[in-house]
């Protein structure tokens, strides 16, 4: 009986802790939703408000230039086209980016993507739970690397491997390239995908290499990222 009494005290303490946590949970959830809403509304407004005003103004202007100054009319039209396309691309990226990528699902996506693009592939699975920042950077590596393989490689084959050492992990994405003459044309460093990845990698104290590579006489492209698993600088890496 006496024991029961004390246990009851435990239970009642538990009850009030539960209530307290319940309230805290609700408040937190609400605050986050509110915050997110405003942030998105702002993003949306900034991104689109501007784009659409530019488009509207420029099209009015271009219309007045058709016969008067056809060259300038063409320039305005080229700009409208570019603004429209860039905005669409940004919207697509923003939407994809709002999901913090997870390595396991990025590996799944990679398989589906390569499958769809008709590229033969072998994608290794990583059977280890990594700390969230590490997992996220590896996931970004997969996403950027595979996107590049499909976009630039005109590849027939793609390999993705992990190497796990005691205090570091590395990932390597390899692809062959259909024609040797593409290389000079293609590796122009003009994009910002790899540059962005480099930054995330550096934030975790890791290193990255990307570039063409000749293997048994054939042209390949290799992306390699190496990360310390007990990094000295372990920063939360946002999106």
């Amino acid at each position: 009986v006496r024991g029961l009494g004390l246990d009851m005290i435990g239970v009642s303490r538990m009850g009030s802790a539960i209530r307290e946590l319940h309230t805290a949970r609700q408040t937190l959830a609400r605050m986050k939703v509110e915050e997110e809403r405003l942030r998105l509304a702002r993003d949306l407004h900034d991104l689109l408000g501007q784009t659409l005003s530019v488009i509207t103004l420029k099209s009015e202007l271009a219309r007045n230039l058709i016969t008067e100054d056809p060259a300038r009319c063409a320039r305005e039209l080229a700009e409208i086209e570019q603004v429209g396309r860039t905005t669409l691309r940004e919207v697509r990226k923003t939407v994809a980016g709002y999901r913090q990528p997870q390595l396991s699902s990025e590996l799944d996506s990679a398989r589906q993507l390569l499958e769809a693009a008709g590229i033969e592939h072998s994608i290794e699975e990583l059977h280890e739970e990594l700390p969230q920042p590490l997992d996220a950077v590896l996931a970004w590596t997969v996403r950027e690397g595979i996107t590049n393989v499909i976009r630039h490689g005109r590849a027939r084959r793609c390999l993705l491997n992990f190497v796990r050492e005691r205090e570091r992990i590395s990932i390597e994405i390899f692809n062959d390239r259909q024609r040797a003459e593409d290389i000079a044309e293609q590796y122009t460093d003009r994009g910002n995908g790899l540059a962005g990845l480099q930054e995330r990698v550096s934030n975790l104290g890791g290193s990255m290499e990307a570039g063409p590579l000749t293997l048994s006489g054939k042209q390949h492209f290799r992306l390699r990222v190496e990360l310390p698993t007990q990094p000295t600088v372990l920063q939360e890496d946002g999106q």
């Binding site: 996506s109 993507l113 769809a116 996107t147």
Partner: protein, 144 residues
């Protein structure tokens, strides 16, 4: 000549796409439809080499039309054209036999190059579009 059937419900998009593609010397738009469920009957008459299908259209949409085309006119290659990737679109497009998954707003020249590659037996997928549709697809909250 690459003979193209274009299925797109939005008249302004359809008109502009048809006009742009027709300017390419080796491409001819032989038929235009605005609904998914008129694709087959039109394709049987027009006998296109490639069907460019929008996904979101009345009458079953492009994915259903793609599926139906596979049996009705197996010689016709299917390319899905869309603006944004939605949940499962890429997977369903591939399952229904599409060999291309491309952006509607791609420059006409790039679209023409993609059509030529498709005619040469390659698969052509826009990676950003595909990534976007996969991202959403992996989210449990996606279904509306």
């Amino acid at each position: 000549m690459i003979r193209v059937l274009l299925a797109e419900d939005q008249a302004m998009v359809r008109g502009a796409l048809a006009a742009l593609l027709s300017r390419e010397a080796d491409i001819e738009v032989v038929a235009e439809v605005a609904r998914g469920d008129t694709v087959i009957e039109t394709a049987l008459v027009a006998q296109p080499d490639v069907a460019l299908l929008d996904i979101e259209m009345p009458g079953g949409g492009g994915l259903m039309a793609a599926q139906a085309l596979r049996t009705a006119l197996p010689s016709c290659r299917v390319v899905i054209l869309t603006t944004f990737g939605r949940s499962g679109y890429l997977r369903r497009a591939m399952e229904s036999g599409a060999v291309g998954f491309l952006l509607k707003d791609e420059p006409a020249k790039a679209l023409a190059v993609a059509l030529r590659r498709v005619m040469a037996g390659e698969r052509v997928v826009d990676p950003d579009l595909a990534v976007a549709s996969l991202s959403e697809g992996n989210n449990p909250l996606t279904s509306r």
